[in-house]
């Protein structure tokens, strides 16, 4: 197992696995937001910024995985 091969596998795995959870999470968040908008379209301007806040929290975890993937892939770590 050469390090170069392992590095490639690590780069791909880091972002691949890190994207699973946030993907599901963002789906749940947006689903909740869409249901809320469907029930009460007038509250759209309150719901949508809060939805984006929730999305950003969930997406940050995927970004952490992406940063680790970059650090491994570009040899920083």
């Amino acid at each position: 197992m050469e390090e170069s091969g392992l590095r490639l596998v690590a780069t791909a795995l880091a972002i691949g696995l890190a994207a699973i959870g946030p993907g599901i999470g963002i789906g749940i968040i947006v689903s909740g937001a869409l249901q809320a908008i469907g029930r009460n379209p007038e509250a759209q301007n309150t719901i949508i910024p809060n939805m984006f806040i929730g999305i950003v929290f969930a997406e940050a975890l995927a970004i952490f995985g992406l940063v680790i993937s970059f650090l491994i892939g570009f040899g920083v770590i």
Binding site: F52, F64, L66, F70, F74, V76
Partner: protein, 386 residues
């Protein structure tokens, strides 16, 4: 535009795209995680993202001065535009926390505007593609690469400048004029992986196989390109600095509204051992916001840059356009979220810590100060008047 016209246009775009990939192939791409130091007339340690940060500083100051030069009651022109933007943003922040938006808006507005134009700066043509040819230790200035086969604006497109790490042993420990290390690419370099292990002479670029690609950049063979501009948000240092500033602002508002009792949220000696550990976890999560902020901003913008590079590498014409639109959107969202999250954390910080969390409504600071929590914070029921 009929459906038929659109179909024809899409097919033409696809054909041109595929043709451009076949006719003008790029061999490999190189990106660097760290910002590169410009060697030319700039002092030591001055990176390209610092240069852009200064440029954006000057730009924002000029914009502010121009918009407020002749203030009129009924705004027109630039004043109107800036008022519209700031008013929209103020409205959004007010939905988060009505009490503190007035006090915090100067900082949050600055964070938003600066991060916004910093994120979008990376999409301009010339950013990342115009640079300085760097030949070993001398720095030779070159014109912008004139004969780039792809006419795509903003093609961030460099030569492969260093061997991929881990493939050779003499990659690290370079006492280079530029303190930042350059690293190989994540893709496109694998085909050349085996024949790059020649001596990495001295500082960098000992890559002989690039001779035939030298014409792409207008640099001499064996040279690499240091981009002149790089958006500051794609630099980890800027993201970290902004995160630290945000946290300092949040803690400032926490102390300003509650005084030394603010520390009681973290070092909770009243709730017994469980309460103590809850306080420690609060402290840890407070500190963990700094890397979260940092990596969120850096990761989004830098990954966006890499995405655009890869898209242009794959299909130089027309395909990157949807990704450009996506990057515009992401740039706006990240700037917006940075400010909004800081506002939300300010709202959390000024809420007095109490043991029962029944009426605690998260970051909606203006609903639950109305005298519900007179528990022991006798002199602090009026956070509104600070």
């Amino acid at each position: 535009m009929s459906a038929r016209t659109i179909t024809v246009l899409v097919i033409v775009a696809l054909v041109i795209g595929v043709a451009s990939r076949i006719l003008f192939p790029m061999d490999h791409i190189a990106v660097e995680v760290a910002a590169e130091e410009l060697g030319w007339v700039f002092p030591e340690g001055f990176t390209n993202s610092m240069l852009v940060a200064l440029i954006l500083d000057v730009l924002l100051i000029i914009l502010a001065l121009a918009a407020t030069a002749r203030l009129t009651e009924v705004p027109r022109g630039l004043q109107n535009l800036m008022e519209a933007i700031l008013e929209a943003f103020y409205g959004l922040l007010r939905n988060i926390n009505r009490e503190y938006v007035g006090r915090a808006f100067p900082v949050l507005g600055t964070i938003f505007l600066y991060t916004l134009i910093s994120n979008w700066f990376g999409l301009l043509p010339g950013v990342g593609s115009i640079g300085i040819c760097h030949h070993k230790e001398e720095a030779v200035v070159t014109e912008p690469a004139p004969a780039e086969p792809t006419e795509e604006p903003g093609s961030i497109w460099r030569r492969f400048r260093d061997q991929a790490p881990g493939l050779d042993s003499h990659n690290g420990g370079q006492a280079a004029p530029e303190a930042t290390e350059e690293h190989g690419t994540a893709n496109g370099a694998d085909t050349h992986g085996t024949d790059e292990h020649s001596a990495a002479t001295g500082d960098e670029h000992g890559d002989e196989h690039d001779d035939e690609h030298a014409t792409y950049l207008g640099c001499d063979p064996g040279d690499g390109l240091i981009p002149l501009f790089r958006p500051p948000s794609a630099d980890l240092n800027y993201a970290l600095a902004l995160a630290l500033v945000s946290m300092v602002i949040v803690e400032y508002f926490g102390f300003a509204s509650q005084g030394p009792r603010y520390l009681g949220k973290f070092f909770n000696l009243r709730g017994g051992p469980v309460g103590f550990f809850v306080g420690i976890f609060e402290l840890i999560s407070e500190i963990a916001r700094i890397p979260a902020f940092t990596f969120r901003l850096f990761g989004n913008i830098f990954a966006g840059e890499v995405l655009l590079i890869v898209m242009i590498f794959l299909v130089p014409a027309f395909l990157p356009l949807p990704f450009y639109l996506f990057e515009v959107f992401v740039g706006f969202i990240q700037a917006f979220i940075f400010a909004v999250l800081t506002m939300a954390f300010i709202g959390l910080a000024v809420t007095p810590h109490h043991d029962d969390h029944n009426g605690h409504n998260g970051h909606d600071g203006h609903t639950d100060h109305a005298g519900q929590h007179g528990q022991g914070e006798a002199g602090h029921t009026d956070q509104t008047k600070e």
